[in-house]
């Protein structure tokens, strides 16, 4: 009987322990979830943890928008809002070289393409730049920083294998001591520089001799796929694709066009 009583206490103790362990486990899991969801706020409340650097903040805030704008510009012949274009597969594709005459080589429509594309991206991201710096201010103020931002110039540079944006904003963060950041860079990996270089070369060819040979370019650049589509009589849409990165640049040209039926006369 005594034995039985001891056993029964043992079992009731054991059940109590299990319940306790289950409760502790639930609390641990709940804490884990809370920390995961609210980590930045918790870390700012307790004043500890790894604080996000303003450069990182701007990089995270800007990179998607920058990548989107690069993509827009790339599929539309270097323009965010093409003025003179052909509609091809629901895309407005800017003419970079054009003549409406027969037997004539085309006239360059968008010279200094690199500069124009840099300017287009620069204008397109300007609103987002302002938003991101405002968010940066709010975010650091929530962490009890005094934030002073002086707006500066925004620049875009197409470089080999990357697009670099530079924001010459001056940001001063003050808590116990002041820290100043004078320039911010956001880099997106993209082959636009290389693709624009090849597009330029094709335009030079079209404006000098007429119809460019895409086979020659593909022989030369093994990582490049070039398609030439003819959406209407006389217009060529060039689609340049980097095989490694799938980055694309497309543009339209109309050069050295012969009248319909030319060369088919029976003598």
């Amino acid at each position: 009987m005594k034995e039985r009583g001891r056993n029964s206490r043992f079992f009731s103790d054991k059940r109590g322990q299990v319940t306790l362990f289950v409760i502790i486990a639930i609390v641990i899991v709940a804490l884990g979830i809370l920390i995961y969801v609210f980590y930045p706020k918790i870390s700012s409340v307790f004043g500890g943890g790894q604080e996000q650097n303003p450069n990182e903040f701007i990089q995270n805030c800007m990179e998607d928008d920058l990548a989107d704008k690069i993509q827009n510009v790339s599929v539309q012949g270097g323009s965010i809002n093409p003025e003179f274009y052909i509609l091809y597969q629901d895309e407005k594709i800017q003419y970079l070289c054009y003549t409406e005459e027969y037997y004539k080589t085309c006239v360059v429509q968008k010279p200094l393409l690199t500069k124009q594309i840099e300017k287009e991206i620069e204008n397109a991201i300007a609103p987002k730049v302002k938003t991101c710096f405002n968010e940066l201010k709010t975010s650091f103020e929530e962490r009890n920083y005094e934030v002073n931002i002086i707006e500066g110039a925004v620049g875009i540079a197409l470089m080999p294998k990357k697009v670099v944006s530079t924001f010459n904003y001056s940001v001063t963060l003050t808590k116990t001591d002041a820290k100043k950041y004078d320039s911010f860079n956001v880099v997106v990996n993209n082959n636009l520089y290389e693709l624009v270089g090849i597009a330029n070369s094709i335009i030079d060819w079209e404006s000098t001799y007429g119809d460019a040979s895409i086979a020659l370019y593909m022989d030369l650049y093994h990582n490049l796929k070039i398609e030439k589509r003819k959406p209407d009589y006389g217009t060529s849409v060039y689609i340049l694709t980097d095989k490694d990165t799938a980055n694309k640049f497309q543009f339209a040209s109309r050069s050295l066009v012969f009248p319909p039926g030319y060369g088919t006369e029976v003598v």
């Binding site: 054009y98 409406e100 006239v107 393409l113 500069k115 080999p160 294998k161 270089g197």
Partner: protein, 286 residues
Amino acid sequence: MRKMINKRGTLTTLNLIVGFLLLFVILINLLPLISSADKTICCEKTVKGAVCQNTEPSNCASGARKADTSCEQTSFCKMGTCIDNKAGECKPNTPKKACDDIQGFWDQRKSEEIPQCKLGCCFIGEETTFVTKTQCKTTAGFFGVEMIFDSSITNSLECAASGLSEDKGACVYQTGDEFGNTCRFTTEKECRKMKTDNSDSNAEFFKDYLCTADELNTNCAKTQKTTCKDEMVYFTDTCGNLANIYDASKITDVAYWTKIVKLEDSCGIGKSNANSQTCGTCNYYL
């Protein structure tokens, strides 16, 4: 009867004259229509948005400049080269209007005639691009690497095929004195760098060649002198360049002084050659 004939004849002549007059009047009225259908003018901007087109007057955008001649004859649509002085980019076959629109500097000369538009091969790491020297400088500056620009490469095909390897060979260049061509045994990369630093040197790289090769026509000649490098004994030429591994049987062998001989094809392979008076291939482990 004769009177009647005369009267009819007069009538016919009169009819003919009136007919011709009518036809003349109709033709005169139609002439402007016919000529205007064929007529093209130079239009600065068309209604579709194309810049500098020879087109019918009705296609010209309102407010755009136009001239009753071909675009090549106008001041605003004349063809030339558009230059971005800051970045160094140049675009040939560009009408003045298109260049002005983006604040470029327009030059009526062809791009080949403008020194700053001269293209060459720019080496940035493993990449090559066919650009102007200014563009090359900007890109090299951004990546913090030394600019290597070869202006003797005159087309993008040759540039794409060019490399900047660590392959060794003879770098032949001009010294500017009476000795003519001289040579340095070095890498392709170093040779291109030498050319960038001194474009007058006309440095040219010959992969796998030694400076003493007869066909390179340099002032570097065979010697019997030797030097030690990487625990091997090498011949040197009169310019102080390394040649192949010392081999007493090949002091005057022209082929041995022309191209690089691989280590595995050199003398005494498989032996230690310790204290050898005839072979510079040393292997301490044997």
